[in-house]
């Protein structure tokens, strides 16, 4: 099985307006999904992200990023194990937030580097 990164893109403005109860029920829903992924042996790890962020570039022009104004921003990531890219996509499709058309998930295979080309100090998790 290969590893895949699921990048979750959310409507940040909608997220900011959620009530406490709505947030709780969102969390419950995601936890249930995560449990499901763990049970089927696909779960590796994942974390939600805070709304606030910075964009940096060489000219150190820092901005709050388009996180607040933009409708869509990355709100979290999940790493899974899957048989192939198709299965990884099919798994992402079962995310309850995708089903309800609240988020879009980008699915990318994580590159496996050969032992030789790994930079020194590289550690497998």
């Amino acid at each position: 099985m290969q590893k895949f990164l699921l990048i979750i893109r959310d409507d940040v403005q909608r997220l900011a307006k959620l009530s406490r109860e709505e947030m709780n029920s969102n969390i419950l829903e995601m936890t249930t999904w995560v449990e499901e992924l763990a049970q089927s042996g696909n779960w590796v790890n994942g974390e939600p992200l805070m709304h606030e962020g910075r964009y940096v570039s060489r000219d150190h022009v820092l901005s709050d990023g388009p996180f607040i104004e933009a409708k869509e921003a990355v709100s979290g990531y999940i790493t899974i194990r899957a048989e192939n890219l198709n299965q990884a996509a099919s798994i992402a499709q079962t995310c309850p937030k995708v089903t309800r058309n609240e988020v879009v998930i980008e699915v990318r295979e994580i590159m496996v580097m050969d032992e030789e080309v790994r930079p020194s100090g590289y550690k497998e998790e």
Partner: protein, 419 residues
């Protein structure tokens, strides 16, 4: 003779339940010109015509045969339509060859369907859903209630999955033993997930839940009987049987949830435990899989007459190995619990602390309920109460909520005595 509409509906529902997948499988076997979608349409049509025809003519003695004949005729018509240009030699040949409703072919067909559902491009959940539909013959409504989804949602998944399977040769060709072996691990996982879905204590309709567990056991047994299964299959069978033995004891007379410690062990089904032991024995010849460890853990629980004699040392070691080949926070939680009861409290605390720091996990009902229980056992009532309180909005299930309420009441009583 006329039958009431109710009776006809009931009979046809029953038949659907027992024969839907067989009919679909048989049609695919009957002619390579019929794809899965067409086969399903034909069987649905046939059931619809049955309800009309039986109302007028009465229910036939051989209902399966009746539906089957209709399916065959409809299939022949479909093929004729398509072959009109290319000539119908093949069709006439099929038509004179009276098809036999042979049990063995059907069984093979159903197993073929099971392996087709184990398509590696589909998510495990999708695999489970299409297996419930085509192999266990569950209606979409029932599948929707199992997953707490809408009928529409299940339909969407089925349409997508069907497109995938349609391009597959596995249904039409004679199965090649090697390709079956390659998919066996996925088939195991499907069966395991169907079983767990049925075993979960968190949702209602006990009859449907038991049915899912039974289906899983039957499918898995079929793999072994047809010599497709291996020692992993046997380990999975053992695991499911040990858990099935405790199925009824998990609830008290009023439907309240009982944890392992509270269960009345005289209600455990000794017959199933003995049967589980046989399969565990059979599983020993091969390499050790996660199912082996889980089965061994379930066995260690099953063999003890009471909770306090549980061999937590061995159980925690088994969890340790399971965690190594299947690293996952939910296994880690069980490992931590086993360590606690084995007396390794420091190590247990360390693992629980790790879990608590993980996102998602810190919002997880079972983790917080476990923390609450451990602090309760440690007589640290304030912290125990805070963990139990935390769980209250972390589950939507009555049985779990009631369990927590019971634990909080226990704390109230102890603290009442102190003051």
């Amino acid at each position: 003779m006329n039958h009431s509409a109710d009776k006809i509906q009931k009979e046809s529902d029953q038949l659907y339940r027992s024969h839907y997948g067989k009919m679909v499988g048989w049609l695919l076997y009957f002619s390579s010109d019929i794809d899965l979608e067409t086969a399903e349409d034909i069987v649905h049509d046939a059931f619809a015509s049955a309800i009309v025809a039986w109302r007028n003519d009465g229910i036939p003695a051989n209902q399966a045969g009746w539906i089957f004949t209709v399916c065959r005729n409809k299939a022949l018509n479909k093929i004729k339509e398509r072959k009109r240009i290319t000539g119908i030699n093949h069709v006439t040949h099929a038509a004179v060859h009276e098809p036999e409703f042979s049990e063995s072919v059907l069984k093979d067909q159903q197993l073929k369907l099971l392996f087709a559902c184990a398509h590696p491009d589909l998510s495990p959940k999708t695999q489970v859903i299409i297996t419930l539909k085509y192999v266990a013959n569950l209606k979409v409504e029932a599948i929707a209630s199992v997953f707490g989804m809408t009928i529409d949602g299940i339909d969407k998944i089925l349409v997508r999955a069907r497109q995938k399977i349609r391009n597959e040769k596995i249904l039409l060709a004679v199965p090649n033993p090697r390709s079956l072996q390659a998919r066996l691990p996925i088939v195991h996982k499907i069966i395991y997930l169907i079983y767990n879905e049925g075993y979960k204590s968190s949702w209602g309709k006990e009859i449907l839940r038991e049915e899912l567990c039974e289906e899983a056991l039957l499918m898995n047994k079929e793999l072994l009987d047809q010599n497709i299964g291996n020692t992993e299959t046997a380990a999975l069978q053992a695991l499911m049987l040990f858990n099935a033995a405790r199925f009824k004891a998990r609830f008290g007379p009023d439907g309240e949830l009982r944890d392992l410690e509270e269960q009345d062990r005289s209600l455990w089904n000794r017959g199933l435990i003995a049967l589980g032991c046989e399969f565990l024995e059979r599983s020993k010849a091969g390499p050790i899989s996660p199912y082996h460890y889980e089965a061994a853990i379930a066995y260690l629980h099953c063999k003890e007459k009471d909770f306090k004699n549980t061999d937590w040392q061995s159980i925690s070691q088994l969890y340790f190995h399971l965690l190594k080949i299947n690293p996952n926070p939910f296994v880690q939680l069980n490992y931590a619990i086993a360590l606690y009861y084995a007396g390794e409290k420091t190590m247990s605390q360390k693992l629980l602390k790790e879990l608590e720091e993980k996102p998602f996990l810190n919002q997880y009902y079972l983790l917080n309920a476990t923390m609450g229980k451990i602090y309760l056992l440690e007589k640290n009532y304030t912290i125990a109460r805070s963990f139990f309180n935390k769980t209250l909005h972390q589950t939507n299930f009555e049985a779990e909520k009631n369990y927590i309420a019971k634990m909080i009441k226990k704390i109230d009583e102890v603290e009442g005595l102190k003051s």
